[in-house]
Amino acid sequence: MDETKYGFWLPVDVSSHGAQIDNLMAVVHWFMLLLFVGWGIFFVYCLVKFRARPGHVATYNPVKAVFTKYIEAAVVVVEVFLLFGLSTPVWFKYKGRPASEKDAVVVQLVAEQFAWNFHYAGKDGKFGKSSTATMSGDNPLGLDPDDPAGKDDITTVNQFHVPVNKDVIVELSSKDVIHSFNIPVLRVKQDAIPGTRIPVWFHATQPGHFELACAQLCGLGHYRMRADVLIDTPEDYAKWEKENAPTPSEEQPPTAQQPAK
């Protein structure tokens, strides 16, 4: 893993929509800084100029100030712009599912204390049936062994392979408590809530090895509920798919790969 990509501000962004979030982040922080410095100058000026000293008396009548109204109006205008110009459009476009799912890779993700179970549809593009009713320690996704659609499905634990330059839709659910799917470099975060299945999508722009960190307190192992995020080149992704595809003769193993740690 490339440790140099992280530092004291936003880490590298490897997603198609992250630039818009980073842009909003920059604009809002400059706005905050401007207001704070403006207030700060006025504040320090007052503290020095109007300090109590012999011969100085306070002014009883309130100072007529029009500029405060301008400042308040400016704050309103900037906030409206932030809200409808920068924030809402990103949310509208990138929450839920992408406009077209034709070329998208769909991954089903079931979170549990304290692991991430990824489920890929495999070559046929169809997910095998799964159900919480058949989940057990040996079958963490509750896959139906008799479903032909599931014969070629790939499952991994804490290993999240995705191809670069493709829309990836992750359908999130949890089997026990609330977890949160959080990949800082992809600017993606979404809670996984038991009893619901919530889609989230992204489009990675560079290959690399990154991290998925649970962002919602989920118990004593919350801090180590991490997964490796492997953004593969198309060739590497195809190679990984092939290597991990179950051969028809062998029985479907519920977990094709063991956790990295």
């Binding site: 109590a52 008396v57 306070a58 100030a65 932030l82 026990d176 975060k189 038991p194 919602q216 004593l220």
Partner: protein
């Protein structure tokens, strides 16, 4: 008249001027001392109850802070044993002197709970509200003194039970101060149940108090004290009481529902088909984990304003008094807090943007969140403009009140990227959030509360606190507070999640681990900075008596003797003017009290 011990219980509820007069006559007539347990323990006097609340809350604040100092060790030096402290806490919490992850989670959940529900709210509302509001409105006591006592006696057991839960098998609650189900319901330790019981008591206490404040402020104002003559602190407490009254019942209900999920096998918050550790969970199912979040945040967002409004009230009093001029935009301030109070009920779901909320809902809540920033900006502007043209005395309370302004500004401004949904995607549940709300609550509210303690200490004791120790306390605290919370914004921007027992598991955590060391040393430094305060607080009792109105203040509490006797005012005060008549042109002195008649 009734017996002296039931002072006020019947006579004040009606709230007409005559009953006050009769009551006062009575108080002075009886002249015998109450037995110790009625005077200091089961007291119905608002001042004694205020002091009880204040001292208890300060102790709880220190306890909550101590939990954090322990956590900071693990965060600065993950996995390193903690010498004799580790041994002291035992093998369950700190096996081999190294903190266990479940103990870390207990400390985190309890730090939040203790600071908010047992520290700041009781200090801001229970202590300052109780002690100061009746005095500032010229009332002999609260409208319902026994209800007032009941409120403290619901708070104290609630707090003690909360602390006791650390000593139960499996330890205290460990699902965050938000106590989200299913985790909170599935965590099989009795401490988790105790958290809910204790919360029910704490909420009940606040509810009883809020009704009392509303009735007192409406009914028991002195003659001539119209709403536009009330000190801003009373307005702030009035709005706060409505927030408590309207927001706490949903959480009380939610706590009872969660108790039933834990104890009676219901599934209000548990969906169908839970599988825990590979086992199918045998519960009815059909519930919703998000229901809890809605009920919780419907309380907990107004709660933020319960924490900040009394603080703003104290800051307003101290600023007006120490700039020696009327507050700038007094009516605007009042309208702003009322609007703030109203809006605080329609922003709660901005805490839940990551729960799969639809775009319409998220747009609604981020819009209301932006709207609520406007009155906050106005309030800050009014305070800043109040400095302009003043003759500013840098007394200890004023230092804390002045520092409140930039600290609250940082806390408020950093709420913007969290309230905007797109940037919240990245910042949600990171250290940025912790930095944001701590700037509002710690160097914001807690500084205001310190200002209040230094400001009203002469009222409650008749003595001044030592100004040199006060200044040492202020500057060290100011430095350490910023050393603690400023780096958190950088941690958050770097992507570090909150509530992580060991942040160095992650590459983005390792890159900024040095900040955790800075924060931890600042936190331990902040503890040392409180020692001059603690010493000052007790040793000043031995100082010589201060003058009757040491700050040359204008509001009604200074019409009463210091400390005020039972019944507060020797004769019912009459109010002649606005609250902050400082530096009135043509006057010989630079303050013209509300209670001083025309000479």
């Amino acid at each position: 008249m009734t017996a002296p011990t039931t002072h006020g219980a019947t006579t004040h509820a009606g709230g007409n001027e005559h009953s006050h007069d009769q009551d006062h006559g009575h108080e002075h007539a009886h002249g015998h001392e109450l037995p110790f347990w009625r005077k200091y323990i089961f007291s119905v006097d608002h001042k004694m109850i205020g002091l009880q609340y204040g001292l208890t809350a300060l102790v709880f604040l220190l306890v909550g802070f101590s939990l954090m100092m322990l956590m900071r060790w693990q965060l600065a030096y993950p996995g390193r044993p903690l010498g004799w402290v580790g041994k002291l806490l035992g093998e369950n919490a700190m096996p081999g002197g190294v903190m266990a992850p479940e103990f870390y989670n207990q400390l985190g959940a309890m730090h939040g709970t203790i600071m908010v529900f047992m520290g700041i709210v009781p200090l801001a509302v229970g202590a300052f509200g109780n002690y100061v509001v009746p005095l500032q409105i010229g009332a002999p006591d609260m409208a319902f003194p026994r209800l007032n006592m009941a409120s403290y006696w619901a708070f104290l057991p609630g707090g003690l039970l909360m602390i006791y839960s650390f000593f139960m098998p499996g330890g205290a609650a460990q699902s965050g101060w938000t106590n989200y189900p299913p985790l909170s319901v599935l965590t099989q330790v009795p401490g988790q149940t105790m958290w809910l019981f204790a919360m029910v008591l704490l909420i009940t206490s606040s509810l009883l108090g809020s009704i009392n404040f509303i009735v007192t402020i409406v009914q028991l104002r002195a003659k001539g004290l119209g709403f536009w003559r009330l000190p801003f602190f009373v307005h702030a407490q009035f709005v706060t009481s409505f927030l408590l009254l309207l927001a706490f019942p949903p959480l009380e209900a939610a706590a009872v529902l969660q108790l039933m999920d834990r104890l009676a096998g219901t599934s209000f918050f548990l969906p169908t088909g839970l599988v825990v550790s590979g086992e199918q969970l045998k519960v009815a199912g059909g519930g919703s984990p998000l229901l809890w979040q809605h009920l919780f945040w419907f309380l907990a967002h107004p709660e933020v304003y319960v924490l900040i409004l009394p603080a703003m009230g104290i800051v307003a009093e101290v600023i007006a008094n120490n700039t020696r001029k009327p507050l700038w935009g007094y009516r605007l301030l009042v309208y702003s807090v009322i609007f703030l109070g109203f809006m605080s009920f329609v922003v709660w779901a901005h805490h839940m943007f990551m729960t799969g909320m639809g775009t319409t809902m998220s747009t609604f809540f981020q819009t209301t969140t932006m709207i609520i920033s406007i009155p906050s900006v106005i309030i800050l502007t009014c305070f800043l403009m109040s400095l302009y043209g003043g003759a500013i005395r840098f007394t200890t309370p004023m230092l804390f009140a002045t520092a409140f302004l930039p600290m609250f500004a940082i806390g408020g401004l950093t709420g913007l990227p969290l309230g905007l949904t797109a940037s919240d995607i990245y910042l949600h549940d990171t250290f940025y959030v912790i930095g944001h709300f701590h700037y509002v609550v710690a160097p914001g509210t807690i500084f205001a509360l310190f200002a209040g303690i230094y400001y009203w200490y002469p009222k409650a004791t008749g003595k001044q606190m030592d100004p040199t120790l006060g200044k040492i306390h202020f500057w060290l605290s100011f430095l350490c507070m910023n050393g603690i919370f400023m780096p958190m914004f950088f941690q958050g921007m770097a992507g570090l999640s909150r509530r992580l027992y060991d942040p160095t598991i992650y590459a983005h955590g390792r890159a900024i681990q040095s900040l955790n060391v800075v924060i931890s040393w600042s936190a331990w430094g902040l503890f040392l900075a409180q020692l001059p305060f603690i010493w000052n607080f007790f040793s000043s009792l031995a100082r010589a008596r201060a003058v009757e109105n040491p700050w040359s203040a204008t509001t009604l509490e200074w019409a009463a003797p210091s400390p005020p006797t039972h019944g507060n005012f020797p004769t019912p005060p009459v109010v002649y003017r606005e609250p902050y008549e400082y530096s009135v042109p043509g006057q010989t002195s630079d303050f013209h009290p509300q209670f001083a008649g025309e000479a």
